[in-house]
Symmetry: C2
Subunit: 522 residues, 2 copies
């Protein structure tokens, strides 16, 4: 007791200091990368990996990345945030390709990689299967950030995010099922594995749903922003732990609870302001955790050991690329045949090349039991592949998007929206300068000077807006689209608010229900 | 290494589970207390203590509260949040009484309690001094919440908050200086103690200022909300650890950095939206930490041990009340003579009775080294006094405020503001119902019904507003006051924004500087 608690205390202070150092480095990277515009071409997370690699190269190790830490502390918030923000309406349309990629895709990926590694290298089949399972979870953070920045289509983004959200769960379940084999605990048997798989996933879905809907209806009964915010945090970690405790997949549980709270609970149980608060809180938490994880991924690299297993890594990279090609092009075209959402070869190419691997792969590799022979090979192979995907694929995806002409007119729209925002802000400034005229006894000369300054700026912005409107016809339709979306949201919120206030019946008329579906409410 | 890391991993999962349980209990208390209105009379934190006591009574112990945990994990965010939110402009006016209470007051309190305990009980002087130091830190959370809710004067609130913010630091420094004496490490010498005290405080102020102004000017150079938000978190914990590491007072360091960032850095370096984000984040963090700490304070109670030391506790309670009476009435009247801020006897009575003790006292008592004789007596005495102040004084302060007629017309103002907010919200709903008319093909009958419903509600609110305005003349001046405050804020923000945007020189004209001072900017 005394020993343990004293060690825990030491480790609390030690961990705190280490994390502060990690965070300071990450924040410096974030700041520097925004100030020097050249760096802006590289996604923030990849920049962190590169800085981490640099630190590892000069042998500065910031913190020991244990699988427990990634899986229990870091993964739940990352998954919850992604699930909270995914729009069920959009996901529903792409459900066929997403399910194919996330379930059948992971099976193809595990088996393909295991076959390649056990055939062309010295790895045993059992060990190769573990490498395959670890590397079947894709990590969309950097690529999705790129999609958003460059304005790739929403469909592409949702495919990437949806696939990743669910293949994480499937890959983790596959890994857990497979890790028993090399330990000799059990022989592989297909029926048993399928039953286990279904049980894992089922318990995850079940507990996630119960907690998700439970909290949704609970928060409907009161309006306490701080409590509701805390509840999302408790539900993310609580679902993970409870599901794992009951023999299910924590990853699937967290994703389920996140999707339900983000799409259902946040609408029926939270007022718009609380919803915004919670979204901002999770955005911050995800930024925070990503800042730590990606820096540490780079910093964990052991170059010498990686070099020793270079043959394994090269075979694994080839296997990762080939199996993903089979999954995306093969299953993608099957999905084109049976579902309404079609992807063309250019989009498939980006999905293929943009399928990076990240923190989940690292965590799974590190969680291989220490006494298992081949553990170091698994870790090195996975780290090597993750680095390749992050650095080579990650840094070239932007170029690929541009070459394949998949970039929208996001930059233009962004500039236009910013000009509109500036105009509004400056008008507000002028208005308030007018009001203050009467309230305070400020030197009128100075106020006039101020106003002149603001008015001049405003005029030049008006000119630029008119010019853009003249030159780009589609900007008009952009405004119209934005207004429409906004109206839909506000209307749905109004009804939700009225239901909460008891002024509207919960059993909506079908017409109203349709509006709420339209506005993301189911 | 292996032992330590495996224990750490176990404790990570164990801690996480324990915290989730603690949080769930706290959130249940929060929820239930809002749903059943009777409970709303009791401040949330006191309710948590009571529930914690109940759990302790049936011997359910949620988590082991180590001093490390309170001092290093919980205290920095609580202090930072309080300091971030305190308005320097208001504090400056009350600087004389606050300084007297926080510095001279702590000295009187430590010496008075030590004399009483060593004279009337079996405690040695050295041990009694530690009890005195632990109990000299006041905890304003519950009382200030009550002040706000009931609408006590701003001056009273700022006195309570300001005193507590700084006497925490002084009490911790006093404790650290005194804890060496019973260990026999050093004999007591007044000059050495004063030098040490000044060093402790000076290092805290110095490092806090350097980090505070450094981050303020740093965030002025970029506009990255998530990075700036992270920086406040890093600065809170980082300042605490760095100051402690360099031999200063971490508490004073955190308070300094919080006051600077909240009053200076947030204005010159953050845009209004970021400032709001950061404030909301810290509000959440403080709620979160308080939810844990106060529940655990109750849950830590060992009734049997407390009962054994009842004589100590009773003497300590008397000493706490008497020394605080000397401090508040004595120093309060001295302050009345030499400063512009006057407090009358009724306000002084509330300051005296509302001086609760809380987490800092508990943390200090628990941090007494295990091998020191008298440790259990110190802990029991401090826990007993804390419980008395929280339960007896905490639950009767509301009654005292009402009896002394120190309650403003807050309830009325609250109701009025709420009605105004409702009116705005419903008008917005009507407007959007009008707009949606043209955009969507909704059954017009249903829309008319909707509109009728909202209009009826709006009319009844208008009627209530008119009635209130007729009956209470001061409500008109309330609106005017609020508008003036708002304008001042917006104007100052505009200038800050313009400075950031490079459209206004950083060296403001004296007239403008005055406006910004007025609006809390120095």
């Amino acid at each position: 007791m005394t020993l343990e608690s004293s060690i825990t205390e030491v480790s609390i202070k030690g961990n705190l200091e280490q994390f502060l150092i990690v965070l300071s480095v990450s924040l410096s990277v974030a700041t520097v990368s925004r100030i020097f515009s050249w760096f802006r071409q590289i996604p923030y997370t990849l920049l962190l990996v590169i800085v981490g690699l640099g630190l590892a190269f000069v042998d500065i190790r910031l913190v020991n990345l244990s699988p427990e830490l990634i899986l229990e502390i870091f993964l739940p918030p990352l998954l919850f945030e992604a699930a909270w923000n995914i729009r069920w309406r959009s996901l529903k349309d792409s459900l066929v390709p997403v399910t194919l990629f996330a379930v059948v895709g992971v099976i193809i990926s595990v088996l393909g990689m295991a076959w390649a590694l056990s055939t062309f290298t010295s790895l045993s089949l059992a060990t190769a299967l573990l490498v395959g399972a670890s590397l079947s979870a894709t990590d969309p953070v950097s690529v999705v950030a790129l999609f958003r920045e460059l304005g790739a289509s929403k469909r592409l983004t949702i495919l990437m995010e949806g696939e990743s959200l669910f293949n994480d769960g499937v890959a983790v379940v596959a890994f857990v099922l497979l890790v028993g084999i090399p330990l000799g605990i059990e022989a592989f048997s297909l029926p048993t594995t399928i039953v286990k798989f279904v049980t894992f996933v089922g318990i995850g879905l079940g507990i996630g749903s119960v907690i998700g809907f439970g909290i949704s209806y609970l928060t409907q009964r009161f309006d306490l922003p701080l409590v509701e915010q805390s509840l999302t945090l408790v539900s993310a970690y609580g679902t993970y732990l409870a599901t794992e405790e009951l023999g299910g997949s924590g990853v699937i549980g967290v994703v389920t609870v996140g999707v339900i709270l983000g799409n259902f609970g946040s609408r029926i149980g939270m007022n718009p302001r609380t919803r915004l608060l919670v979204s901002e809180f999770w955005e911050f938490l995800a930024f925070f955790v990503n800042s730590i994880v990606f820096l540490l991924i780079g910093d964990q690299i052991n170059f010498a050991s990686l070099n020793n297993n270079l043959d394994l890594i090269l075979v694994a990279i080839a296997a990762v690329l080939i199996t993903r090609a089979i999954v995306i092009f093969g299953l993608g075209n099957i999905s084109n045949l049976i579902s309404g959402v079609k992807t063309n070869w250019r989009e498939q190419t980006v999905l293929w090349w943009g399928g990076l691997r990240g923190s989940v792969s690292i965590a799974l590799a590190l969680s291989v039991p220490a006494f298992l022979t081949g553990r170091q090979e698994i870790i090195d192979t996975v780290f090597g592949v993750v680095l390749f995907t992050l650095l080579v694929q990650g840094l070239s995806t932007k170029w690929l998007l541009e070459s394949l002409n998949l970039i929208g007119d996001q930059a233009l729209k962004q500039e236009y929206s910013e000009l509109l925002a500036r105009r509004t802000a400056l008008k507000r400034v002028l208005e308030y300068l007018d009001i203050t005229d009467n309230v305070y006894d400020i030197d009128p000369e100075f106020l006039r000077y101020q106003k002149g300054l603001v008015k001049g700026e405003l005029q030049s912005i008006e000119d630029r807006i008119s010019k853009m409107k003249r030159e780009h016809d589609n900007l008009r339709s952009l405004s119209r689209e934005q207004l429409k979306e906004q109206l839909l949201d506000i209307e749905a919120d109004t009804y939700a608010e009225l239901i909460r206030a008891g002024q509207l019946n919960e059993n909506l008329s079908p017409v109203l229900q349709e509006i709420m579906v339209e506005a993301d409410l189911t």
